[in-house]
């Protein structure tokens, strides 16, 4: 659904000029670092964003997908002050950031206010801080690169856990549906194996099986190798 246009936004569009700024939130172990890409600080949504102006930028594309594949996002910071603990990048490097949340938001601004009056957020990119690399060399800019990743499951803040047989039995003690769900990658699922031959399977409660071939409750016959 498109964003409803405010009077300011409509006026900006009619003036054939719109202004966009970027808000960055990095959720570290010692609080949230917030900055934006303009010259003077702004308070938006109750939070104050430091004015980093050109000292950071978004590298490449911002991808937002509806699939389950994590999308990358790369943010580059001016690396020259990285050893200054008081600088923004210095504070980030001094804190614990790995696999902690980050958020990038596009902020529509009132174009006639010189980036003082905000209209509203037009996009939000939620992700996790993944890796940081630095690039320093003669003749090139000193850059600290923060690689982030998203993912629809993570964006929805879901816990990536598997439902085990025990989990399901707590909900419905007679439901055996998850008895054959693999809990680890590449784990062998014991289809067609007698329950009494599976360690921990017990001799009762499982589906009726035969030695040579398995017969599942749904009438499907599986031939065991």
């Amino acid at each position: 659904m498109p964003l409803p246009l405010t009077t300011d936004a409509r006026a900006a569009l009619e003036a054939r000029e719109v202004a966009i700024a970027w808000l960055l939130d990095l959720y570290t172990d010692e609080g949230t670092l917030r900055c934006w890409d303009q010259a003077i600080p702004i308070t938006y949504g109750g939070d104050t964003y430091e004015a980093l102006q050109d000292r950071w930028r978004i590298e490449g594309e911002i991808k937002i997908g509806a699939d389950l594949t994590p999308e990358p996002l790369t943010i580059a910071f001016d690396g020259a002050p990285q050893t200054d603990d008081a600088s923004f990048i210095g504070r980030l490097l001094d804190r614990t950031w790995h696999q902690r949340r980050m958020r990038l938001r596009g902020l529509l601004m009132n174009v006639s206010s010189n980036f003082v009056t905000a209209i509203g957020v037009h996009m939000t990119w939620n992700g996790w801080m993944d890796t940081i690399s630095t690039s320093d060399g003669v003749g090139t800019a000193s850059v600290v690169t923060l690689n982030c990743e998203s993912g629809i499951l993570r964006a929805l803040d879901m816990n990536l856990t598997a439902c085990t047989d025990e989990d399901q039995r707590r909900r419905l003690s007679t439901d055996q549906f998850f008895r054959n769900v693999a809990l680890k990658p590449a784990q062998q699922v014991p289809f067609g194996t007698k329950w009494i031959n599976i360690p921990g399977g017990g001799s009762s409660g499982g589906p009726a099986t035969t030695g040579g071939g398995g017969s599942l409750p749904f009438g499907i016959t599986i031939q065991r190798e």
Partner: protein, 199 residues
């Protein structure tokens, strides 16, 4: 590193200033719609010609003191040294308020009214320089005048040191200076610079 040393004007043949707008290019002619990504800033190109030996030595040492882009310098716009009213002093000039959103500066202590096209500078809260071009003016009253400027002004220092005569901007070298040392001793130097912003 901040030096803010003034630039040299001896044998300066060309000093062109340009305001760099940070915005997208229009997609087509019919709408002309653009997206603005940030405030504008100044870039300038400097060209010195027919320098004699002492002149080249002074300029070469001045460039060496810049240490590439590490040490900033200050410059005024040679074509706008004085405002249109002809003022040659900044004495008594002050700022009563700065409005970033409205792009206005309320100047005080003016001996005569400023006009569109004049340059205006002052010290910023962070110890840098704001330098802008007056684009429209209000009526002057008892030396006070509201100036609409471009680019947008930022918060002023407690001691703003406002200037209309030789209004200063802070720059750093952009790229390598070009120095020509031919046999006929008609030396030439040119370099580009971009504004240092300390808001």
């Amino acid at each position: 590193m901040s030096s803010q040393e003034i630039f040299l004007t001896d044998r300066l043949k060309d000093c062109s200033w340009r305001l760099m707008q940070r915005q997208s290019a229009p997609f087509g002619r019919q709408t002309g719609q653009v997206i603005t990504y940030g405030g504008a800033f100044w870039v300038a190109s400097f060209r010195y010609e027919n320098l004699d030996g002492p002149g080249l030595r002074a300029l070469s040492a001045w460039i060496a003191r810049r240490k590439g882009a590490a040490v900033s310098f200050t410059a005024y716009r040679p074509t706008r040294i004085s405002p249109a009213n002809g003022a040659t002093s900044n004495s008594g000039l002050g700022i009563s308020s700065v409005n970033t959103a409205a792009s206005t500066i309320a100047a005080t202590g003016l001996s005569a009214a400023l006009a569109a096209g004049d340059m205006f500078s002052y010290a910023t809260l962070a110890g840098g320089f704001y330098c802008g071009e007056v684009v429209s003016v209000g009526a002057i009253s008892s030396g006070a005048q509201t100036l609409t400027v471009s680019p947008a002004p930022v918060a002023a220092h407690g001691t703003p040191q406002a200037r209309v005569f030789q209004a200063l901007a802070e720059f750093q070298l952009d790229g390598e200076p070009q120095i020509s040392e031919p046999h006929d001793r008609r030396y030439a130097v040119s370099f580009n610079a971009r504004q240092v912003e300390r808001a």
